[in-house]
Symmetry: C2
Subunit: 394 residues, 2 copies
């Protein structure tokens, strides 16, 4: 019940153990194509260029950024938590001229502030996370794509922490690139990174295309400003997923099966229904921790559905309490990074764990642990009662 | 039964579906540590810096190369097949000054030729694959490490195609870096890349260390010539696997379980015994294809144990025959790349597939398919008989 990774859906665990096949076996290529179809729906996009990057969520981030950023490009990164710093860091390693703006931790950016920075910096790429687990905040993205387009910037967002538990509309919001991981609301293991690119973004990566030595054929393009990574060159990755099926990496079949099952579960339950389930679990957890006398962190009106941060009560040893949760109850909760390290606990309700029983058990355990460490400023059973009220619609 | 990926060991498939835990759960960190211990034995090394990179085998290659190569460094790549080209390609993307020497496909390099090139180029890094599935050749590495050391070069080899099915002795052979994947003789899925670094190599990556923004603390080193990738920065990856457990990517738990089980199986059966099993299966397959009147490709005295290439007989449509193998018998065999594309078939006997029954069934199917397409220059049943003779020690 931490900020992720989380327990996977049982059927995702089963999908992982399906037999392997060769990467050009018709079953395998059909599975890849089917996975693309499913993720287009998850992302809310018609982008042909919708694929899985074989690596953890930050592999998807790096693939998007190194493929879209030419050395010296101006990149704007609005930072409102740890993962904004990560985007800036990766842009810097990609040799961009990186400009950052900062929101106080626990807040998000008004669109006007982002627009002002875009007008000033004139970036080729605006990169920001949608949900930053370090602060629990969810940045509204729906108006930023239009601003980016007006100023000729590409718009990229990482939705690892938020996708499937909060609305995301790649096409309607004007995203040119979006990335995620499986290990949060999608309810799968870390190790596969869904990624989608708009036709505008595809143009950029295609213009930088270079077919690798060893499989190059006459007439294949060899752009001079090729991507400075082979593994993350989206031009090659698109050729691998596309009709040419040009050999690149050996597809990680087990992780592909998991990624496909994660998307299938979202679409069978329904994209809206899954979000509603996350909303309900998040509201129940929020009501529960408040009823246990805990103070929440950050602007609740912009909180992700799937995680809440609470200040560690005065006098309670944060790490010892987390250890008691884990060792005595088998429940993991997290602390955070940077300015919040050791000051807050973060409790997630995501993917398979966005369930009433998971919320109730966590609150019961938390009450016991708080009491043990001397925090008793609450009504006995108040946490679970408040959560149950949410589930009963009281 | 192609050049890989191959069928995984059943227990590896089961390991993939084990429940997930948080990445700092004591179970998870213990699993990481245990995996390191196991892979030290698989690699034949005492290198502390023995880890898994979260991505396919080429992710391991790129991590090793971008972390060891500073822009402008001279890198020597002896190329004897497609994957030599890949190493040169990745070195070029890492902005090295790349020098290649070439062996004819189907041959390997005498150590004197490599030494001559090292003396001429004076590289900081010599990079070569041990086994190149595109040609089936196994490059002897045992004397090259000493030469590299004499000339002050680091010595790196990718053993994706060969590890566990052919001898590999990281320490005894003087390797400074070695990488692999699970999807060949280790009998697992693609998606995790075992990697080991010598203390000399660790010095290089440590000198380039930069702790990422967002989790940086006062006093953390910030080298100016930092690695131009975040995901593949081995300095950070070593901090993540080391005692500091500094947050980097979210460990791909399912793939870690698979990697651990692959290594465990090798060590339970015994490193020598696993190689002997590959030798036996390879000899049986070789005897079988010869008895079916097929001509082998390349220098057999330097063939990997786990794969054989045969010329497609005159008049036999190679792709149609492969399709018949797959569609009618459920058995995949491969063709190759570049100059060998459409000219040879490659038949693997690796990992779980290095079994007598797998060899026998493949040869029986191949005989039927060859006959169907008009190649009949063999004694009926000759392929399976020849293979059975090897297994019976006749």
């Amino acid at each position: 019940m931490g900020p992720g990774p989380i327990d996977a859906y049982p059927s995702v665990l089963r999908a992982l153990s399906a037999p392997l096949t060769g990467q050009y076996d018709p079953f395998m290529t059909a599975t890849m194509t089917e996975t693309q179809v499913l993720y287009r729906q998850v992302w809310g996009t018609e982008n042909e260029a919708t694929v899985i990057v074989d690596g953890t969520s930050r592999a998807g981030i790096e693939a998007a950024m190194v493929s879209l950023i030419r050395p010296g490009d101006r990149v704007l990164v609005p930072v409102f938590g740890r993962f904004g710093h990560l985007l800036a860091e990766i842009a810097e390693r990609a040799m961009a001229e990186v400009h950052t703006i900062h929101a106080e931790w626990g807040q998000v950016f008004p669109v006007s502030v982002v627009e002002e920075a875009i007008a000033r910096v004139r970036p080729t790429l605006v990169a920001m996370v949608q949900g930053d687990t370090s602060t629990t905040m969810l940045q509204p993205l729906d108006e930023i794509g239009e601003v980016c387009r007006r100023y000729g910037a590409l718009f990229y967002s990482d939705a690892t922490a938020s996708l499937a538990g909060n609305p995301f509309e790649a096409d309607a919001w004007g995203l040119d690139a979006a990335t995620a991981g499986l290990q949060k609301c999608l309810g799968g293991p870390s190790g596969a990174a869904p990624l989608t690119l708009s036709p505008r973004a595809v143009e950029v990566v295609t213009a930088r295309k270079r077919v690798e030595a060893g499989i190059r054929e006459e007439g294949d393009p060899q752009a001079p400003d090729f991507v400075r990574s082979n593994y993350f060159d989206l031009g090659m990755i698109l050729d691998y997923w596309g009709p040419r099926r040009l050999n690149h990496h050996t597809e990680a079949a087990s992780m592909l099966y998991a990624a496909r099952e994660c998307a299938r579960l979202v679409l069978v339950e329904g994209r809206e229904a899954v979000i509603a389930r996350h909303v309900r679990a998040g509201e129940a957890m929020l009501a529960g921790v408040r009823a246990l006398g805990l103070t929440t962190f950050g602007d609740l009106s912009h909180k992700m559905t799937n995680i809440v941060a609470v200040y560690i009560p005065e006098g309670v040893p944060g790490d010892a309490a987390r250890a008691a949760m884990l060792e005595d109850f088998g429940i993991e909760i997290g602390t955070s990074f940077g300015p919040l390290h050791g000051k807050v606990w973060r409790i997630g309700t995501m993917g398979y764990n966005a369930r009433e029983d998971a919320v109730m058990v966590t609150l019961a355990a938390l009450e016991a642990v708080l009491r043990r460490f001397g925090h008793t400023a609450f009504t006995a059973g108040g946490g679970v009662d408040a959560a149950a009220d949410i589930y009963r619609g009281a």
